[in-house]
């Protein structure tokens, strides 16, 4: 191998990594998973009776979580799954209530992670209060 050949080798390697980078380039995973989703798919709009039932169920789960901090994280997941089925309707009807409920849910999650009973009770009470305000304006 001569000096020029060695230099050509170095250049070829540099070109090689560029081409390899090109061939490995596209991050298909994120491309494929990001589809077109309608607002309805993400935040379904449901009838008032469903919202009332959902708020009652979420409130009960959060209350239960406050009494059993050991399972609070699992309870919070359940509460959030329920919340996701009707939150779009609340956001559409009354954004202030929506934000108050989201704040209460976030506080509940933080408290669940920290195992903080007092904060869990407060978060559950805040959620109930926001739910009551909403239901007064939009009875199911």
């Amino acid at each position: 191998m001569t000096r020029t050949t060695a230099f050509r080798f170095a250049v070829a390697v540099l070109a090689g990594f560029s081409l390899l980078g090109v061939s490995c380039g596209a991050d298909k995973q994120s491309a494929d998973t990001v589809g077109v989703a309608s607002t309805e798919e993400s935040h379904p709009i449901v009838d008032d009776a469903t919202v009332t039932a959902g708020l009652t169920k979420t409130g009960e789960i959060l209350k239960a979580a406050a009494t059993t901090p050991d399972t609070a994280e699992a309870d919070w997941d359940k509460a959030h799954t329920t919340w996701a089925t009707y939150e779009g309707t609340i956001k559409q009807n009354r954004p202030d209530s929506y934000l108050a409920m989201e704040d209460a849910l976030a506080a509940s999650e933080t408290a669940a992670k920290a195992g903080d009973s007092a904060a869990l009770i407060k978060a559950a009470a805040d959620f109930q209060s926001a739910a009551a305000t909403y239901l007064a304006a939009f009875p199911g």
Partner: protein, 411 residues
């Protein structure tokens, strides 16, 4: 030379293709990324209002910014990463609660810094890596290891050459032992560095920025012509002197130490550079690995050419090519460091109206649409260009003039 030009053309093509690949991928994702930018602006505004003591307006901004912008981002983000969507929602809520509870500014600032990281993560989830960013990161990773390894191979070739010329081949083994120890120490350094950094009492973002700035300083030191040439000479003389003193003492430990010192310096630099590359190449880790694999393979060939075949390599040509790429890497690191300092609110975010590059390309190039990062990158580039002009234009011109005037004086 033609091949080199072709390589540059490939690089430029990659650069140009990447943004179009991202923008062609679909309307909802592009809209979401624009909304993420508006969300960032709203978060900046919220923090500015908090810092100015206007909690009421800060809360209003936090609420409206979330509802008007991030809630729209949630639609595609929920599909890409539901857990991240929930975590970001909760982080927004935590900030709103902290503001309405009148928590201290420092506490709210810390929560905002966490949120900014989540918004970047969200953008990564909504963005294709494209072509340019993986190619650039692979190239940077390859270059860092190959360049440092190349220097080690050259230094070893010189040391082995001395020992053979001095008819003392029995000393080669302990030197190679030192080299092997340095290689192990380098791997340990790479693994330990992040753990040690985590123990320091500063935030992750500040630490990342400081490490990157340190990497920029070292890259500048090893690449800037005016310093690098003197430094290389001094380093070679130092190693040579240590070798001769070790031989004269005849101590194995001293010879091992020579091999260790010669290699570990490069190893430490490599660990530092990879720390920054991995930090700022979030989501591009596999391309960093690809660059390492390619560099190891290329170094194996170079070592074979030098040691087994006993050939000389066109060192100057390679180093001249590599130095420009090293400088570009240091400019990228600087942009990322300054952007991170803004994200950590050490520097105030000053966004420009320049369009934002796809996030992976921003990570690879350090080009973020903020005033401090762009100014910093422009200043460093100017220093490099000034140095190049001095070394390649002014200095030869002066040398020619001096030699001409000396000839005239002699005549």
């Amino acid at each position: 030379m033609r091949r080199l030009l072709a390589l540059v053309a490939v690089g430029l093509a990659c650069w140009m293709v990447a943004p179009s690949a991202a923008s062609a991928a679909g309307g909802s994702r592009d809209d979401a990324i624009k909304l993420l930018d508006q969300t960032r602006a709203s978060v900046d505004e919220t923090l500015a209002l908090i810092e100015s003591g206007d909690g009421v307006r800060a809360l209003a901004e936090a609420r409206s910014g979330y509802l008007a912008h991030f809630e729209q981002v949630e639609i595609p983000l929920r599909i890409a990463d539901n857990d991240l969507t929930i975590a970001a929602e909760n982080q927004f809520a935590t900030i709103r609660t902290a503001i309405s509870d009148g928590k201290p500014v420092s506490e709210i600032r810390d929560q905002v810094v966490v949120l900014r990281g989540m918004l970047d993560d969200a953008e990564r989830k909504l963005t294709e890596a494209g072509i340019g960013a993986p190619a650039l990161v692979t190239g940077q990773s390859f270059l860092i290891l190959f360049r440092e390894g190349f220097e080690v191979v050259l230094l070893l070739a010189v040391l082995v050459g001395y020992l053979e010329a001095a008819r003392s081949p029995q000393y080669i083994k302990p030197i190679l032992g030192g080299v092997a120890l340095a290689a192990v120490a380098t791997v340990i350094t790479v693994l330990l560095m992040p753990m040690l950094f985590r123990l320091l009492p500063v935030s992750r973002e500040v630490l990342e920025a400081v490490v990157a700035l340190l990497a920029v300083a070292v890259l500048f030191y090893v690449s800037f012509w005016l310093i690098a040439r003197l430094e290389q000479k001094r380093w070679m003389e130092f190693v040579r002197a240590r070798l001769w003193s070790a031989i004269s003492v005849g101590s194995t430990a001293s010879l091992v130490a020579v091999g260790f010192t010669a290699v570990y310096r490069e190893g430490f630099e490599t660990a530092l550079f990879y720390q920054s590359l991995l930090t700022f190449g979030e989501g591009l880790g596999r391309y960093v690995l690809l660059g390492i694999v390619l560099a190891v393979a290329a170094l194996a060939v170079v070592a074979h050419v030098v040691f087994a075949l006993g050939r000389k390599l066109p060192v100057r040509k390679f180093m001249n090519t590599a130095v420009a790429l090293v400088m570009a890497t240091s400019v990228a690191f600087l942009g990322n460091a300054l952007n991170t300092l803004q994200s950590a609110d050490v520097l105030t975010y000053r966004r420009t109206t320049f369009p934002r590059l796809p996030i992976f390309l921003s990570e690879a190039t350090g080009v973020w649409p903020t005033v401090p990062s762009l100014l910093g990158q422009a200043a460093l580039t100017l220093v490099y260009l000034g140095g190049a002009a001095f070394v390649f234009v002014v200095k030869p011109l002066l040398a020619r003039r001096i030699s001409r005037s000396m000839r005239t004086a002699t005549v």
